[in-house]
């Protein structure tokens, strides 16, 4: 397995790639800024496209990663560039797993995000995440969200998948 660790303008990146296989593991630690989160979403999308992952998965994962990063930046870290957002991605044709962790006090983990009034200004991002990902979990106090898509899941999101 090839591994690489590189400093970035907004933080650092570690990546592993198994040559000959559609698999990559990427970790970012970025300062909590809009520019950094835009860069992370762009890099992860390019990685998924390079791995030739399913277009529907790429679209779902890109949107959900952006929504989780926006929540981490604006709500978890209150837009403080001194704070850090940690991102972990496992990307393969069998499974996509996305981790986003901020330095805040966490999501209200007991709320039912699958049944949100989408006209309400809060919760729309988490509603989309719950609709588009196969599984969503929170770690610890809730400042770490884990989202995944898996081939073994019977996708219930046919409305989105068309």
């Amino acid at each position: 397995m090839n591994g690489v660790s590189v400093p970035m303008e907004f933080g650092s990146l570690e990546a592993k790639h198994l040559p000959g296989h559609s698999f990559a593991e990427i970790r970012f630690a970025i300062s909590s800024t809009e520019a950094a989160l835009v860069s992370v979403v762009e890099m992860v999308r390019r990685a998924m496209e390079t791995l030739a992952l399913d277009n529907d998965w790429v679209a779902r994962a890109e949107l959900c990663l952006q929504e989780a990063l926006l929540n981490a930046h604006f709500h978890g870290n209150h837009g403080d560039p001194e704070r850090t957002i940690r991102v972990g991605c496992i990307l393969s044709s069998e499974k996509i797993e996305l981790h986003v962790e901020d330095e805040g006090t966490g999501y209200p983990v007991n709320r039912d995000y699958s049944n949100v009034n989408t006209m309400h200004p809060r919760g729309r991002g988490l509603f989309l995440i719950h609709q588009l990902m196969d599984s969503v979990a929170f770690n610890g106090a809730g400042a770490h969200i884990i989202m995944s898509l898996s081939r073994s899941q019977n996708h219930g999101n046919q409305h989105y998948a068309g």
Binding site: A59, L63, L70, T118, M119, G125, L128, Y160
Partner: protein, 101 residues
């Protein structure tokens, strides 16, 4: 994201191109507010060249709808492409807005 305003007869269209997300917040609001101030209360938002939409953009559409309705008009969504259209449907925006497909 690119924003272009097109005027034909009494129809005002805001044509968007690219990613419609949180980064478009100020420019989109400024555009809608400017049109409302000039008396254009019924706006068509052309989404045919939008390839990504996030929850912030959905919020911007709701705000535009609210402000246009207060001024006696409304917002029409025009030709959302596959991916964008699916997100709109998922959030029931096809029930909140007139969507031209």
């Amino acid at each position: 994201m690119e924003i272009n305003i097109m005027q034909a007869d009494n129809n005002t269209t805001i044509a968007l191109k690219g990613r419609f997300d949180f980064q478009a917040h100020q420019e989109f609001r400024r555009t809608v507010d400017g049109l409302l101030r000039s008396g254009k209360a019924t706006l068509t938002v052309d989404l045919s060249q939008v390839n990504f939409i996030d929850s912030s953009a959905l919020g911007l559409l709701l705000l535009a709808r609210e402000n246009c309705e207060k001024a006696g008009g409304g917002v029409i969504l025009n030709q959302p492409k596959d991916y964008v259209d699916k997100v709109l449907k998922l959030c029931h925006f096809d029930q909140l807005f007139q969507v031209q497909r």
